[in-house]
């Protein structure tokens, strides 16, 4: 720009000076059409700073950045600038970038404990809002180590412990904090919260224990009832004996009880059926009926031990014959039930309970084979197998 003329100059040179503005612009003026974009590129008038930028497009911004991050400045100054950068990101809720900045600051200059305390505490806050409770707690602890009375670190540590459900630790942090700051309301409130959660968690654990015990007790009763009837339970897959007796002894009630929870069925539709005892003391078993001739099976979810096979068969086959029974042979009177392992024939009028004790119940579900009485398949199937008749 032209220098301002001295007072002694005449008004003419002033007029001349002013005239220049009417005709020519000045260097660095905005372009009439793109003035808004250009406006936004000037650091002072920016509303938001660009994340990444090319210094050639934004020369002023490039200059400022260079000043801030100039390697020639002392590490302490650089660390402080990085701290400010972190704080700025934090304000904008860009917590991950804040963490980066604080970490860089911590690495730049480590001699100032005050600065480090603040950096660690701020980084802890950033981690907290990112949901990284462990990292936040670590940073708060590190800050506390440098300056044990730093209030923000103490509060943050307690908050992290609560989020991590370490309520006893949270209370410890609060008590430590209250030693240095006895009237700090935030610490008192956190302590109340942590204490409340802790006592609720203790109650939940007591409740769970009692429920488990009750369940266990019920299972014991059931197991005793099964044992009383002489029934033996087998695991779904036979484990090879390793020659020591202790494994057999391990088939304690817990082992057997866990067996009860298996329904041992590969079929997906049949879920969670388990033997149970009704209020009259009768056992009801989930039972599998297998039809080897047609490769079919039926699952009965609750077969009362005191009911007869024939009654069950009537229910299943009485009204209409199954669709897979192409020969129309599977009507109740014509059915023959067998016990799989010993291939023992059962007279259908006999009661379930009379037979269950004769063999091992595999995977908590007794299974029987059902044949049509005079079928050639049955004869073929049973040849070579010991058939006992009752």
């Amino acid at each position: 720009m032209a220098a301002v003329p001295a007072e002694s100059d005449s008004d003419d040179s002033m007029d001349e000076f002013m005239n220049n503005f009417k005709t020519g612009g000045y260097t660095g003026a905005f372009n009439k059409d793109t003035w808004e974009q250009e406006f936004d590129k000037i650091p002072m008038f920016m509303k938001t700073a660009p994340e990444e930028f090319d210094p050639r497009e934004y020369p002023e911004l490039g200059c400022i950045q260079a000043i801030i991050h100039d390697e020639d400045r002392s590490p302490e100054e650089q660390a402080k600038s990085l701290k400010d950068e972190g704080n700025a990101y934090f304000k904008e809720k860009k917590y991950d970038k804040a963490v980066v900045a604080y970490t860089a600051a911590l690495q730049k200059y480590t001699e100032d404990p005050e600065l480090n305390t603040v950096l660690l505490t701020n980084r802890a806050a950033s981690h907290y809002y990112l949901g990284n409770m462990r990292s936040s707690l670590n940073d708060a602890s590190a800050a506390k180590k440098i300056k044990p009375t730093h209030l923000k670190a103490l509060i943050r540590g307690a908050q992290c412990c609560i989020e991590l459900r370490s309520y006893t630790d949270a209370i410890k942090w609060c008590d430590e904090g209250l030693k240095a700051h006895p009237t700090e309301k935030k610490l008192q409130d956190l302590r109340v919260t942590a204490d409340k959660h802790k006592r609720a968690a203790e109650r939940d654990s007591r409740k769970a224990k009692i429920k488990e015990k009750k369940l266990h007790g019920e299972k014991e009763v059931l197991l005793a009832a099964i044992k009383d009837r002489g029934i033996k339970l087998l695991k779904a897959s036979q484990r090879r004996q390793r020659g020591s007796d202790s494994e057999d002894k391990d088939r304690s009630s817990t082992g057997a009880i866990s067996e009860l929870s298996l329904d041992g069925l590969s079929s997906q539709e049949l879920m969670g059926a388990q033997v149970f005892q009704d209020e009259h003391g009768q056992l009801h078993w989930p039972v599998l009926f297998l039809y080897p001739e047609h490769q079919q099976s039926d699952f009965i979810s609750a077969f009362c031990e005191n009911s007869c096979f024939i009654d069950q068969l009537v229910v299943m086959f009485g009204e209409e014959l199954p669709p897979w029974d192409v020969d129309r042979k599977y009507y109740p009177q014509n059915l023959q039930v067998q016990i799989p392992i010993e291939v023992q024939e059962i007279i259908n009028s006999s009661v379930f309970s009379a037979f269950v004790c004769r063999f091992f119940v595999k995977a908590g579900t007794p299974s029987f084979m059902v044949f049509a009485k005079d079928s050639p398949f049955k004869t073929k199937f049973l040849t070579g197998k010991k058939v006992k008749r009752l």
Partner: protein
């Protein structure tokens, strides 16, 4: 007792420069004196002796120091000696300075001395004052509540000290400071199994604090939540239905089958009295009803055998299930009792006490009868009451 000359000689032995064995004999002799009332009276009249003795608490020999502290414990148990100990011998500043030292080996002895001195109001005030000046009550609470503060001391007697101090309103208002977290830190110790002293001291403190009914709202609120800590020692392992459990305060839900009740009947009585105090206000009564405290008390009443405790329990249950008092009388502590009614109530209390004693006697006689039935000695002797 000792003549003047003998006393002077004894005092001369109580200097740091004396031969250790002579010093030891002197302190042992004084310890013996302090063990009986006459000895204490004698020592009371010899303040110079006590000053010299107390100075020996900084003696390099641990045995001597221990004897000295035990003498002071004995002396502090006698109220008549309080004045000379606090004024002439001026033991408080030294004791307080030592007790806060985490490595001091005789902190438990100091705790006992302080709790003895604070029993009666007059010296209690002096103790409180010295305490606030030298150490601060907050520090005492911290030492009491911090496990392992001093590896050689358990600080159980500080509980008794706190309990005694709370007979003073200024101590109570400090402990119940709403801007700080002090009383809350004491609450868990109502169930401290390992020490009846610590438990009793804590509950005694809470009992005294509940005399100030303006604090009741705050004490019963979430900020302090005193109620479960008073009820837990009285709650038992009896199984309640799920519905009943869910209606109780969280800490009393689903108690395990090995839960035991407070074994000391005096402490049980104090707990009930504290709960009774908390029913003085309408809010307190409402909270107790809302939280179904009655369930706990019903089971407790079935279990309790001590007559005095039962009596207090019944008074409490009466309030729990009774109707609200008439308008204007909701705060039981502020109700004005007319003179004739007060007289009647006094008579009723006396009568109740008589009945209690009669019942107690009857029970004892039954016991004796049972025992003498079992131990049949001479056929001639009447198997019956031995009065």
């Amino acid at each position: 007792m000792l003549s003047e000359s003998k006393t002077a000689e004894l005092i001369s032995f109580l200097t740091p420069s004396t031969r250790p064995d002579v010093k030891g004999h002197a302190t042992t002799y004084i310890l013996g004196l302090s063990g009986n009332r006459d000895g204490c009276q004698f020592l009371r009249s010899k303040p110079d002796l006590l000053v010299a003795l107390f100075a020996l608490t900084s003696d390099p020999s641990i045995a001597i120091v221990k004897d000295c502290y035990h003498v002071i414990i004995n002396l502090s148990a006698d109220e008549k000696l309080h004045n000379v100990l606090v004024e002439k011998v001026n033991i408080l500043p030294v004791l307080l300075k030592n007790i806060v030292d985490p490595d001091f080996p005789f902190s438990d002895q100091i705790s006992t001395i302080l709790s003895n001195l604070s029993r009666h109001k007059k010296t209690c005030k002096a103790v409180f004052q010295a305490l606030q000046e030298e150490v601060g009550l907050a520090k005492v609470v911290e030492m009491f509540c911090t496990e392992g503060y001093n590896k050689k001391a358990n600080f159980h007697y500080l509980g008794l000290l706190l309990s005694n101090l709370t007979q003073l309103p200024e101590a109570r208002s400090f402990i119940m400071d709403k801007d700080r977290c002090i009383i809350q830190r004491l609450l868990p110790f109502t169930q401290y199994q390992a020490s009846v002293i610590r438990r009793g001291g804590t509950i005694g403190t809470l009992h005294n604090c509940c005399f100030d009914h303006i604090y009741h709202d705050w004490l019963l609120s979430d900020a302090v939540d005193i109620l479960p800590f008073l009820l837990l020692p009285l709650a038992g392992p009896e199984e309640l239905s799920e519905e009943q459990n869910e209606a109780l305060p969280v800490d009393l839900q689903y108690l395990p089958e090995d839960k035991t009740r407070e074994e000391d009947p005096d402490i049980r009585k104090m707990l009930l009295e504290t709960l009774l105090l908390l029913t003085a206000t309408k809010v307190g009564r409402q909270i107790m009803k809302d939280k179904n405290v009655y369930f706990i008390m019903r089971e407790f009443h079935k279990w309790e055998e001590d007559l005095e405790v039962i009596s207090t329990c019944e008074k409490f249950i009466q309030v729990l299930i009774g109707d609200e008092p008439a308008e204007g009388m909701e705060n039981l502590m502020e109700v004005e009792i007319p003179e004739d009614v007060e007289e009647k109530l006094k008579q009723a209390d006396l009568k109740e006490q008589e009945e209690l004693e009669k019942e107690q006697k009857r029970r004892e006689e039954e016991e004796t009868k049972k025992n003498s039935d079992v131990n049949q000695k001479d056929g001639d002797k009447e198997s019956g009451l031995t009065l």
